[in-house]
Amino acid sequence: MLAGQIVPTSGEVRVFGERPFNNLKVSVNSIYVDDQMNFSLEMTIKEILTAANMFYPNWDQTLADRLIDYFGISIDVYHDQLSKGKASTFNAIFGLASRCPLTMFDEPTTGMDYSVRQDFYRALLKDYMAHPRTMIISSHLLNELETILEEIVLIKNGSCILHNSIEDFKEFATGLTGDEESIQSVVNGEDIIYRKHLIKKQVYNVVGKSLSEIEKRQLSEAGVSITKVDAADLSMYLTSETKGGIDDVFTSS
């Protein structure tokens, strides 16, 4: 909808103050990169780049050429002849080189090798710093790119359930391992966003609030160990339907 590819069925979307659907101003100033990007079947990679240069006002041909060369993408072939990984890499390069004030990447790393993904994240960061602009990235590989992010938005069933700075997000939850009663004597049950039964009375709980120094001390004195919760795990707990995750499926009621 932001990219003007779908018309909203209700409500209103505005990008740069205008309705994005069929809007030239929004089209030249925004780009939406995903693994289903449509390019003309009649044009080679080289011709696609030439056309992009004419369309996008901020297009950086030098950057595009250098990245295409670095990632070893042949410019004389057609887009549908590229392998899955190479097509994703090309789309990502296209997204970067367009230098659009609103740049959206929807799962840009699908099919890319680990090393290519690392290179892409670094290219993204470097180009963002040289030419700051709004970049929105959706990804299931939060662990890999969390350090380069500034803010995070979690979406569950189509609605936004959290929007925070990445640092606050990472500090928002705490993992507690220990005796269930000791944990419950300090922590309110409502704050628990994930619980896993370990052995005997031992549980692993994730609480969705930052604990005070006093609470931390009370817990550690009761033998409860306090750990950091990985950002990717936390997103999983917050977007999960149950508080026990996959284990609930295997628990006979």
Partner: protein
């Protein structure tokens, strides 16, 4: 240095500690310009906002001062200040952990003091 993303220490705290270590080691001296958030972001592959947060911690501790339009600079007494604060905070934390362990083991104050004396003596004999 490589940042540890799995550590319970947030990235910006690790950045702040790294900067402090740079000052202690004399890689940045008093009245010299501190690295910018963009230099740090590039160096550690992190978002510049995270890097800025790390730099701000040093500014809050008065280790850095701001020159209008020029950026952050290292305070005259920065090195001593960092060392003093690390001593106070780290040592206090260690004593806290130590006392907690003693509680677990049901060791009273008397026994604790005897233990400290014993270890001190062993150290002295060994040196």
């Amino acid at each position: 240095m490589v940042l540890n993303n799995d550590s319970s220490k947030p990235i910006y705290i690790q950045i702040a500690e790294w900067l402090e270590t740079e000052i202690i080691n004399g890689n940045i001296n008093a009245n010299e310009k501190m690295y910018s958030q963009y230099q740090l972001a590039d160096l550690f592959n992190i978002n510049p906002a995270t890097a800025a947060k790390g730099i701000n911690i040093l500014a809050q501790h008065d280790v850095l001062y701001k020159k209008r339009g020029l950026g952050m600079f290292v305070q005259e007494q920065a090195k001593d200040q960092i060392l003093l604060r690390r001593k106070n905070e780290n040592l206090k934390q260690m004593i806290h952990d130590f006392l907690q362990e003693a509680d677990y083991l049901n060791i009273g104050d008397q026994e604790l003091m005897e233990l400290i004396e014993k270890v001190k003596k062993e150290r002295w004999e060994n040196s």
